[in-house]
Symmetry: D2
Subunit: 462 residues, 4 copies
């Protein structure tokens, strides 16, 4: 999970990139980076932490230039951190280049071996570096030609934003797994912007122009934007962007995330009705779907779980003896509301099941008579090869279990998952535009050549 | 605005106080402090910032003892900070004592002059120190007697939690302006706890026992809790605790905050209906009232404004040129949802009117056809003398203006405030239990002897 | 051990105080504070750490006014820190006042009891607060009269700098235990300054005017400086200021610290000659005395021990297993120089003996054939009651031991201490100006009324 | 200017590397890094700042493995920092490798162009990466063979420490420009260590074994150390290591730095005697040479300038108006000592001349009658191509000026520089072992192919 941003030709390019990353912060909170391009010289800042902590006024003042790209990321390797805070920058054939990447290449291992056999050295463990190495080895002179050559070798999910020389380049893989949108500042500058989600445009007062098309190489320079298309492939936009990654105020590939989530909740209510007194979302992930569920079912929507806004992801219990307070630090049930009631809890997904069980207990301890859990997506029982960090199959509570067994595991009185077809309807799948749903159907649009293991890290950056 | 907490007789007193403050963080984010009592020796930590940043494992390890009190505060003096991060600790007549205070004394200036004339020196500009000075000057030996003497001299709003020697003492002023509740840990320790709100009990798995009564001095020591009552006064619980200070999962003086807010929204819909397509709350302050409004009116409830969770109070725009993005950094409108619609925006209050105007514009720019604003409390046009930091009358948009003029100022198509009687009904005012609503009625239950000015600071702590 | 500074009537009073504290940093590295006086309103900053870390440009900008005082301190209570970072500020009888204190009152416990019996509350465990309480209880109106009354009650060592209203006030106790000097800026401002040592004047380009006299109350306001004298007492300037507290570039009570240390080394060489190949100082404490020793003895002066400048007091070994490297982190011997040589190591004092033993071993391991230790002061075997934090008698290696036994304990081939008379000669004691040398003679000029124990802390600030 | 360290086969390899870097901190204070090797997986930490700030207990705990290398550096590009905090780590041909580099390659630009033409991408602007790229392109399988191939292509100054697979490899260029020494832990582990200077061995209780020879590739693995020699070249050890880079307690290529500095001072006194009352060193750089000067001249050695130990390199004057205090913040003259005296000031070098002029003024303002400056090295009037960051020729005060003109510029009564022959004698130059002294003789042992400009940065890391 990552977010990318780019801007072409604005005197405050780095500042607007900062704002864009700010709006994309939900796509990655572990690290962030900005590279500005000042007449071909690249100036970069990358650090662990939140956008607003890293990019102080002093730091931004050191990022000159009218072009900039940015990246937010959620690093996956637990504990120690792979050395790949992005954007990645490099120099080859006299050219300085930087790239921000959202997605995941399959066969990165195969390509890396091949490149290393040719004498390449890798400074990072990131698959993004493979793209740059392939470009550097292209026999052709123009950066766009080098990029076309490189894209001919890679497979998988990628939305890439480059800057080099006098250009901003945005690329989306032929399946269109990850979102990427083009916009333009409303101000007289008319600067072009690209971003992972439209919510970044709203913040900086840019108009949405269009989605970057799957397979498109969009080159923006002083002559304006122009496109090169690589050979097409079936559309496979990640359905989980709608389920939970994207912000509800974004519109992705023509579909409003908010509307999709309302529709998921409505569909869920039709598929798995419940005889209950109230519908309570798990905040904030389940709120919009819960509204849909309440509308369709006619059951009252109540905020029976209150989120503590002052707990970040990094909250560490200071003493072992109070660690068991667990989910309570983030959520509190409203006893007056729940006491004696039959409650439907709505959330977007269940991963390991431990949090779900804690929430069920929390609601029951607050006095609820019955607790019914409804999930606005199908059970996930396979890994994602396209950029989402999922636990191993063994850790997934849905893996190889019946819904009844899962309900028992999380101690719910009943449990219902949205069906795959229900989800497809909610996100308006059409014959011409289908989604990637490999993680619950097992139908992977792009297969890795070698079986995928947890990668063995050889270069670990603390 | 402050939050207080206290615990008696638990081996991890400071850790549980930390958790309690965590649950009360919404009552003050500027500073926090904990004082633990280890056999009469007081160990204190006070610092600027959020509870979870200040109280690391290492810091908590330095707070031994089975009794502890804590405090979160929102400091009022703009720019420089008065030296009164709490709890306040002191030594007098060989006794060490610490106190955490929520509220505001009237006549603090008069008492301070009197005490200074007697040779008292004040280490802080806090009115809390006046209480300790009065206790030190009591002729009596027992701390409870000293406290009774001191309370006989002070007027205003106060919920106080003390620790000294082997005791935890909780005090609430005779009018009961500010909340204070008593609970008991469910675990075998059965430790007694007091807190500003019941939500602190939920977090630490304590049962609510009862409200500390207005005028009650509750002393807890090895012999258990016992009470002394000072002469009674009319109940004057601050109605704005229900409107916006308290967390919706708290129950204060017998009234559920959540239910009160739903009722405010319902009442508001009855008083000021709107012909509209959707009800949209300002997150998070207007959410519960908006739900009530939607229910009573039958208009669809939609999350048309999305809050950016990664913006704290301390967000500083790094460049002047992007300062005008203002409220956009915190809120984004959902264009797909609002386009062409007639929208009711619900919030809890309007102070200066600048934020309200920005929100109206944001919604209108997202395509809304009409924007109707509904506020779940009456117009505030006077200052609070009882612990709330309100702007001066001149800064209050409602001061001396008609509702029509305010609507024009915030650029709304219509504007409706909940009536005083509507609010009273929502919070279930009865003849025997009326609320303090001085800030919109001008009926101040306790009048300061001298006209209140902005206090002149003589000791400023940076 | 502390350092104090004050300045009267300069537009950058806080900035110059910052510089003054910088020059006095050697007198205390644990905390620092500045209080500026802006027309009677006091603005204060106090924090743990070094002067240059605490007082950033932003912090200094919040300290307006033409008068300022400052303080650096080395806190004594191990582990947890008493809440008495200075300057101390307070309000009494409508007057704001702040004070910085270098020294130690005897009978602080007796006075505190008396004041508490009168209803005083103490916000700190600092003896400085006693002075303010006594001033507040004076029946007289003028602050100087209040001060005279207070000084009539206290005994011990004190160099105090106050600011209140439009005044800067400097006070030195009748014995003159601690240094205090008066100077004047060379610039056209001609602002008056007071400081613990003259080296602070050199930094800010002020001329030394004179020492503040023992028993003098020096009041500086718009009318210029004027003095009030309290009854005199025998001069008892702390001889250890010359041995190791003061900076060698300071001149205290007419005696150059540098010259005094040279003389100590010369005297030491006369009293305890050594048949050796080189004189090696322990850097930096023993350097000047070692130069004197080398001069008088004719033995070569060599820097056989090199100090690592990058180790601060706060150096913490990151792993237990490397803790034994101990003193090596601070000092390294020069093997090429020491191999096969007979070495005289010169230092200013020995406290517990553990560091001395490590240094002897370090030098011997570097190949020295003989290691003779010479100390430029007499053996310290008693506590200081006047402001120096000494270990308990039991921890002092010199307590109740013969010099031979100490030599054996530190593994030196020989050991010589400067005699009391030798030290007196070096610091030019005259019949009319004798020094306090209680810590090695046991003749305490001011005796505490009660036996002194380690104070029991009742208010501990973490 | 950098320092390198490596250790082979110790259970606390990273901890000892931390200590080694600590002892080498004087060779670079801007950044530091450690890479540990845990069975072929490399774990790295690199950061701006001092060793003891970066490597906390927590950080070191994340660096497992029995082999480790480390680096301290002083970055040269003013303001913004090139992205080359070391050690550099990379992966090529399935092998993870890390390297720490002290020195500077000539022709790095030529090699970089050649490598980029072959498709190499560079992640950094560091010449060290060129070495890795050359190794990766070697046709041979063994890392030592790859290294031999790479060294065949590079010229200039380099002391390199690598770790890969199960090996620690130390390399020194054929001229031996920069120091590199081999040692062995005294403890039973007998672990091998390499470092820039012997002072690192003293700290960790390792014995000096020998210098790594110019042109030596020293490979240490489970079979013990073995060496491969590349073709020899004339010895050209940097004479300025003895003048000021190295710590006086180090012994480099058989010469004691301390003894060399004493000899420089003695020689200087013979060449440029002064009729004066005292010899005063600029602390700490001029201390040892001043001792030599005093010995040879018979003039008294006095510490007339006192260094303020609490001013780091990062000291920033908080207010513009006090910036002119300049050098006073670091040094103070001792007025009592200097008044009326004829003073010889000894320092190791003069660069721009501005600091020297300030010191002369400081001493004169303290009352000195005459100020004679003596410098323990010849005038530097050319750049260094071998790893020292010198200002441009235009900034060097000695460039194209007579000594008389320099004396006038720094306002000294007289000025004397040590002659080139005098310096050679002091460092014991022999026909078989001559030093690099290009910066004052203009005789560069290795000439860059292209004229050297200030490199144009294309990738700037903030």
């Amino acid at each position: 999970m990552c977010g990318v941003f780019g801007i072409f030709d604005h005197p405050e390019a780095a500042n607007l990139t900062y704002l864009g990353l700010h709006a994309l912060q939900h796509r990655g909170q572990e690290s962030a980076g900005v590279v500005s391009n000042d007449g071909g010289t690249l100036h970069g800042v990358r650090a662990m932490g939140h956008v607003r902590k890293i990019f102080t006024r002093e730091v931004l003042a050191q990022l000159p230039g009218r072009i900039a790209i940015g990246h937010v990321r959620y690093t996956t390797a637990g504990g120690s951190l792979v050395k790949n805070v992005q954007p990645l920058s490099a120099q080859y054939r006299g050219r300085s280049i930087a790239v921000a990447h959202n997605g995941n290449l399959v066969d990165e291992d195969v390509l890396r071996e091949e490149l290393e056999a040719q004498g390449a050295i890798f400074a990072t463990m990131s698959d993004t570096e493979v793209v740059l190495q392939l470009m550097a080895r292209s026999g052709r002179a123009a950066v766009v030609d080098q990029l076309i050559d490189a894209l001919g070798r890679i497979r998988g999910a990628y939305s890439l934003v480059f800057t080099t020389e006098d250009k901003l380049i945005a690329v989306r893989d032929p399946h269109g797994f990850r979102p990427l949108v083009l916009g333009r500042l409303r101000s007289e500058s008319g600067a072009w912007v690209v971003a992972s989600e439209t919510c970044a445009f709203d913040l900086i007062e840019a108009d949405f122009v269009r989605d970057v098309a799957p397979g498109e190489i969009l080159v923006i320079d002083a002559a304006g934007p122009r496109s090169v298309m690589v050979p097409p492939a079936p559309r496979r936009f990640c359905v989980f962007e709608h389920v939970y990654f994207a912000r509800p105020d974004s519109v992705l590939d023509g579909v409003s995330v908010y509307e999709a989530r309302i529709a998921m909740g409505e569909q869920l209510a039709s598929e798995h009705p419940a005889d209950a007194d109230m519908v309570v979302p798990v905040p904030d992930s389940g709120v919009v779907a819960a509204m849909g569920f309440a509308r369709r079912s006619g059951i009252a929507f109540e905020l029976g779980l209150i989120r503590n806004h002052y707990v970040g992801r990094t909250f560490i219990e200071p003493m072992d003896s109070i660690r068991h307070f667990g989910v309570r630090l983030k959520l509190n049930a409203v006893p007056k509301l729940l006491a004696g009631k039959r409650v439907v809890i709505v959330d977007d997904s269940i991963v390991r099941g431990t949090t779900a069980r804690k929430i069920v207990r929390l609601v029951r301890n607050a006095g609820a008579r019955e607790v019914h859990v409804r999930i606005s997506s199908p059970p996930v029982d396979g890994p994602c090869h396209y950029g989402i960090d999922t636990p191993t199959r063994a850790e997934l509570v849905a893996s190889g279990q019946t819904v009844g067994a899962i309900a028992a595991a999380i101690e719910a009185d009943s449990l219902g998952y949205l069906s795959p077809d229900g989800l497809r309807a909610a996100v308006r799948q059409t014959p011409g535009f289908s989604y990637c749903d490999a993680c619950f159907t097992g139908e992977y649009p792009v297969q890795p050549t070698r079986p995928v293991g947890r990668r063995q890290l050889r270069l670990v950056e603390v």
